[in-house]
C-alpha cells in the first residue's frame, strides 16, 4: 500500500511530467510566430497579417492554424525507395527526444503545502545536467536516420553534415558545462539553481552581483551558447539544411505530419536549449537579487514584483499594439480595423488591473499558502521571461548572421572552441582551488 505522502508525490510528479511535456508544445507556435514576426520587423517589414478567422488576425498568429491545417491535409507520402521503418521512426524519434529534457528543469522553488512539499520539477535526478546532455545528444539519431533512410544524396549529405557538426560541438558543450560544475560542485539542477539565488562571493568578498553562471563562467557561457546554436542546427550553423546547397537537407523526402514533426522538433529543441541556458547561466527561476526566502518572508515584495512586472510588460505590449493599430487603421474597416485596438485596450486593462490588485494587496495580510503561490508565480514568470529572451536571441541571431562554410564550422569547433574550453577548465580549476 502507498501512504498519503507517496500518493501526493505521485500526483505531483504526474502533473509536472504532463506540464513539462506541454511547455515545449506550447512554446512552439509562439516561437514560430516570433520567428516570422521578428524576422519581418528586423527587415523593416510588417510580417504575416493576412490569415484571419472572422476578421480576427491575432497579429499573424492565425498563420500557425493555417500551417497546421495545411500540413494535416497534405498527402503523407512514404517514397518507394526509402527504408520504411527508419524513415517513419526518424521524425517520431526527433520529436520524442526533444520533449524529454524539460522533465529535469526546475520551474519554481518547491513550496510547502501542509506537511507535503510541491515540487515544480518532474524529476530531480541526481545526474541532473548529465541527463539533459545525454538526451539532447540522442537527437542526432533522428537526423541521421532521416538522412540515411531517405536514400537520397541530398538527405544523406544533410544528415552527415548535421551529425558531424553536432558531435563536434557536443564536445565543447560538455566541457563548458564541466567548468560550471566545478564552480557549483554539484550536478543536480535544483541545487545548481538554489546556489544561483545568492550573491556572488569571491575570495571572501561579496559582490553586488547575483551568483549566476554567466558571472562565474563568462567564457563557459559563450562556449555553451555557441555550442547550443550548433546543437540545435540553427543559423549560423544550419548547414544541415543549407537550402542553396542541399535543397532542405535531411528532411527533403518528408511531407505532411512527418515534416511537421521535424519542424516542431527543431523549435522544441531550441526551447529546451533556452531553458537549459537560463537554468545553468541565468539563475533559472531565481529573481535577480531577491532570494526565495526573502520572497516567502515578504509577501508584499513578491506581490509588488509580480504585479509590477505584469503591469510593465502589458503596458509596453499595449503601447506597441496601439502604435501598430494607428499605423494600419486607414487600410481596413470593421473587425480588421478595430482588432488591434481591442488587444491594445485589453493589455492596458490587464496592466491597470495588476496595479489595482497591487494597491489592494498591499493593505491586506496574506496567509502563508497565498505567499507561497505568489512566490511560485513570480519565479515562473521570471523563468519564462529569461526563456523568451533566449528564444528571441535564436531568432535575432538567425536574421543577423550569414551561414558558416563547412570548413569554417569545423575549424571553429575543433581549433577554437575546444582549446578555449580546455583553457577555461584550467583557469576555473586554479581559481576554485585558490578559494579553498
Amino acid at each position: 500500500m502507498i501512504d498519503s505522502n507517496q500518493l501526493f508525490t505521485l500526483i505531483n510528479i504526474t502533473v509536472m511530467t504532463v506540464v513539462a511535456w506541454l511547455i515545449p508544445l506550447q512554446f512552439i507556435p509562439v516561437f514560430i510566430w516570433l520567428e516570422r514576426k521578428g524576422s519581418a520587423i528586423i527587415q523593416d517589414r510588417i510580417g504575416p497579417n493576412r490569415a484571419e478567422i472572422m476578421g480576427f488576425r491575432l497579429f499573424g498568429m492565425i498563420h500557425n492554424f493555417a500551417d497546421v491545417v495545411k500540413l494535416l491535409m497534405k498527402e503523407n507520402i512514404v517514397p518507394a525507395h526509402v527504408n520504411r521503418f527508419y524513415f517513419i521512426l526518424a521524425p517520431f524519434w526527433s520529436m520524442a527526444v526533444s520533449l524529454l529534457p524539460l522533465l529535469v528543469i526546475p520551474l519554481a522553488a518547491p513550496i510547502s503545502w501542509g506537511e507535503h512539499t510541491i515540487h515544480f520539477q518532474a524529476a530531480d535526478l541526481g545526474v541532473g545536467i548529465l541527463f539533459i546532455l545525454s538526451i539532447t545528444s540522442m537527437g542526432v539519431f533522428g537526423v541521421m536516420l532521416a538522412g540515411w533512410s531517405s536514400n537520397n544524396k541530398f538527405s544523406l549529405l544533410g544528415g552527415i553534415r548535421s551529425s558531424a557538426q553536432m558531435i563536434s560541438y557536443e564536445l565543447s558543450m560538455g566541457l563548458a558545462v564541466v567548468g560550471l560544475l566545478m564552480v557549483y560542485q554539484d550536478v543536480k539542477l535544483s541545487s545548481i539553481v538554489e546556489t544561483q539565488g545568492r550573491l556572488l562571493t569571491a575570495w571572501g568578498h561579496t559582490l553586488p552581483l547575483p551568483n549566476w553562471g554567466i558571472f562565474l563562467q563568462p567564457v563557459g557561457f559563450l562556449l555553451f551558447l555557441v555550442a547550443s546554436f550548433a546543437e540545435t542546427n540553427r543559423n549560423p550553423f544550419d548547414l544541415a539544411e543549407g537550402e542553396s546547397e542541399l535543397v532542405a537537407g535531411y528532411h527533403v523526402e518528408y511531407s505532411s505530419v512527418k515534416f511537421a514533426l521535424f519542424f516542431m522538433a527543431e523549435y522544441s529543441n531550441m526551447v529546451v536549449a533556452a531553458f537549459v541556458i537560463s537554468t545553468l547561466f541565468f539563475g533559472g527561476y531565481q529573481v535577480p537579487f531577491v532570494s526565495t526566502a526573502a520572497l516567502t518572508q515578504n509577501p508584499k515584495l513578491a506581490l509588488g514584483l509580480l504585479c509590477g512586472l505584469v503591469a510593465l510588460l502589458k503596458g509596453t505590449a499595449g503601447f506597441i499594439f496601439l502604435k501598430g493599430a494607428k499605423q494600419q487603421k486607414h487600410l481596413y474597416t470593421g473587425v480588421k480595423k478595430n482588432e488591434p485596438f481591442i488587444w491594445s485596450g485589453l493589455c492596458f486593462a490587464v496592466a491597470l488591473a495588476a496595479l489595482v490588485f497591487l494597491a489592494v494587496g498591499l493593505s491586506v495580510d496574506f496567509a502563508p499558502g497565498v505567499t507561497a503561490v505568489l512566490t511560485a508565480l513570480l519565479q515562473l514568470l521570471c523563468l519564462s521571461l529569461k526563456v523568451l529572451f533566449f528564444c528571441w536571441l535564436f531568432v535575432w541571431v538567425r536574421w543577423t548572421m550569414p551561414r558558416f562554410r563547412y570548413d569554417q564550422l569545423m575549424k571553429l569547433g575543433w581549433k577554437v572552441m575546444l582549446p578555449l574550453a580546455l583553457l577555461n577548465l584550467l583557469v576555473t580549476g586554479v581559481i576554485v582551488l585558490s578559494q579553498k
Partner: protein, 181 residues
Amino acid sequence: MRVVQRPGMKNSEKIYVVEVVKGLALTIGHVLHNLFQPKDMPVVSFPEEHKALPPATRGRHRLMKREDESPRCTACMLCATACPAECIHIKAAESPDPDVEKLPEKFDIDMLRCVYCGFCVEACPLDAIRMDIPDVAVADYTRESLVYHKEFLMNHDNKDVVPDYNPPRPVLWTHGPHAKP
C-alpha cells in the same frame, strides 16, 4: 598581369564576437525603431494601398482615339510585326474615311503572352498604342478574360495619364478626323 590581394579579416574580426555583437546591435536597432515608430517602415500594404508609380512606368496597353472616337490605328501591322511574343492579333477592314485607308476591325492583345517589352509602342508611327495605364497587377481567373479586345483597349478618356509628363511622341496629321497637312 596584376595580382589583386583580397582583403583578409582583421584580428578583431577573426574572433567573430565583436562583429557578431555589432551585427546584433544593428538589427535590434531596427526592431526597436520599427516597434515604437511603425510609421517609418517603408511598407506598402499592397492590395489595400498602391505605390505611386514613376511617370515612365510601362503599364497596361490602350488604343488611342481620334476626336470622333474612332481608333487612330490604321491596321498597318507594324506593332504586330515588331511584337516578339506575337501577342497582337489585328484584322483590318475598309475605313469609311476616304483619307484613311484601313482601320482595325479586330485588335486583340493576349496579355498572357505579352512580355511588356514596349516594342509595339516604339513601332507605331501614329501614337495609336500606348502602354501608360499604371496597372502592374494584371490578373484574372480565365484565359479568355485576359485577351483584351479593341473595345476594352479603347475604353478610356484619351488624355495623358500623367499630365506634366510628355515623352516625345509622333504628332501626325492623321490624328484629327479630317485634318490635312
